[in-house]
């Protein structure tokens, strides 16, 4: 066996020897070390100062409501205004038209070539070169259109939150993890044996992923299972960044019912623009 083949075989063995995460367990993109922020898991929900809002509206609610009710009694006021047309839709039409035109040009050239059959002179070869140049230009234009569409769709990240759980507790057994957002919506993930095994070997379990408001908010994390039911409720304050994907990782590896919910380690990071879905997890950073 040649040395390079041996090296490849060893590498393949080393990779296959690593415990693979279970298929049901999600992978979170690896955070860059500099961007990970440690957050505290608190026993009590943090109390925030309550600021007044819409004072005029609240003080004059009856008057304003009466005005709206009066408007609805008059038929001419109920007409619906036309919504603004998204300029991107017009742009898509333009792109489609260009694609159709380019397709027609290629078809015409191809038909002509088939009709001609063979080339008998240098002039024909020059003609072919021109056609190839034209096709190249069309391909370039198509690439540019695709890049435009990709930037439009893939680059439009909205404010999202992704909550993942990693590690296995020092004591007790976690049967399920529940995440409750500030509006009271709860998401519960029950852990199967496979998922539990995956967590032990460095996997991550995605408990929640969805749109979030770009503001400071408190997320409640509850652990349920043997030993945890009495103590397994904690609160994490975080502020998802606008138009970015924020990860919250709850690490159970140092957690124990005797130490309480504060023994959970939590951290947040942002998905860096351009990282996309290609960022691979590793054993240290699920």
């Amino acid at each position: 066996m040649r040395p390079s083949s041996l090296l490849s075989a060893l590498l393949a063995l080393a990779v296959s020897a690593r415990p693979a995460p279970a298929a049901t367990t999600e992978r979170a993109p690896a955070p860059a070390a500099a961007t990970v922020t440690t957050v505290t898991v608190e026993r009590e929900r943090p109390v925030r100062e309550k600021l007044p809002t819409l004072q005029f509206l609240r003080a004059n609610r009856d008057f304003i409501r009466a005005r709206f009710d009066r408007l609805r009694e008059e038929p001419h006021t109920t007409r619906a205004g036309a919504a603004d047309l998204d300029p991107r839709f017009l742009e898509y039409r333009r792109l489609l038209a260009q694609i159709t035109t380019a397709k027609d040009s290629v078809t015409v050239a191809s038909d002509a070539r088939e009709r001609q059959g063979v080339f008998t002179s240098v002039q024909d070869l020059a003609g072919i070169e021109r056609e190839l140049d034209q096709m190249e230009r069309l391909l370039d234009a198509q690439r540019a259109r695709l890049a435009e569409l990709q930037a439009d769709f893939a680059g439009r990240q909205r404010t999202e939150l992704d909550v993942v759980v990693t590690g296995n507790t020092l004591a007790g057994r976690v049967d399920s993890v529940r995440v409750t957002l500030e509006d009271g919506t709860s998401f519960t993930s029950a852990l199967t044996e496979t998922q539990r095994g995956s967590l032990i070997h460095g996997g991550a379990l995605e408990v929640f992923r969805g749109l979030a408001e770009p503001r400071e908010q408190v997320v409640e994390v509850s652990l349920m299972g043997e030993g945890w039911s009495a103590t397994g409720r904690g609160f994490v304050t975080l502020e998802p960044a606008r138009d970015r994907l924020t990860f919250l990782k709850v690490d159970l590896s140092q957690a124990s019912p005797a130490l309480g919910i504060a023994s959970l380690k939590a951290s947040t990071w942002l998905l860096e623009p351009g990282a996309g879905t290609s960022a691979e997890a590793d054993q240290d950073r699920p």
Binding site: F56, R58, R67, L71, T159, E213, P214, R242, D243
Partner: protein, 194 residues
């Protein structure tokens, strides 16, 4: 044997005082958020509204804290109220210092029509009010602009479909002066005392 605690070479008291001062400074900085015109917080509030409900539309804007006396229509905090037809609910986001400081559902029914796009900013609305109703405002001795609110329908008499700014001037011992300005072209539509 000397049982005193070893003296730390680091001046812990100075550090504590410095920390306390920096915390206090942080609080002061938070209180003194830079005032901004109404449009300044719209993008952030809209992003939050879209996260809340895909069909959320802006229906009402109001300053939550005092307006600056600079005629630029700036306030440290503005509220943006959105209505979602699918949820049949209104939710408000209050923006201060570039952050959302309050987010709450409105505890009243408020299925108002959406504000028309392209509305004039608060500074332009004040300038328009000063141009057309300046004399009336000045007649009100000691008057100050207390509230600005942007909405569609409720305050406009001539065209109930119009989006308007309503400016509320208050003076001690006198009824408030209301000035309604079109948010489309800056024309003063009406004024009244009440």
């Amino acid at each position: 044997m000397d049982d005193r605690a070893p003296r730390s070479p680091f001046p812990t008291r100075i550090l504590a005082v410095a920390l306390a001062l920096s915390c206090a400074a942080g609080r002061v900085a938070a209180k003194d958020a830079t005032p901004f015109a109404a449009r300044g917080g719209l993008e952030l509030a809209s992003a939050a509204a879209q996260s809340w409900s895909g069909d959320a539309v802006l229906v009402y804007v109001e300053n939550d804290e005092g307006l600056n006396n600079d005629a630029a229509g700036t306030s440290p905090r503005w509220s943006y109220l959105f209505y979602s037809a699918s949820q049949d609910r209104a939710r408000v986001w209050s923006v201060r210092g570039g952050r959302i400081v309050v987010a709450e559902n409105l505890d009243m029914r408020f299925d108002a029509p959406p504000i028309a796009a392209g509305w004039l900013d608060s500074g332009a609305a004040i300038a328009a009010a000063e141009r057309s109703a300046g004399d009336e405002i000045r007649k009100l001795r000691g008057a100050h602009l207390e509230t600005m609110l942007l909405m569609r329908g409720a305050f406009s008499e001539g065209d109930p479909d119009a989006t308007t700014w309503t400016l509320v001037y208050r003076a001690p011992g006198a009824p408030a002066l209301f000035v309604v300005v079109s948010a489309a072209d800056g024309k003063v539509q009406r004024t009244w005392r009440g």
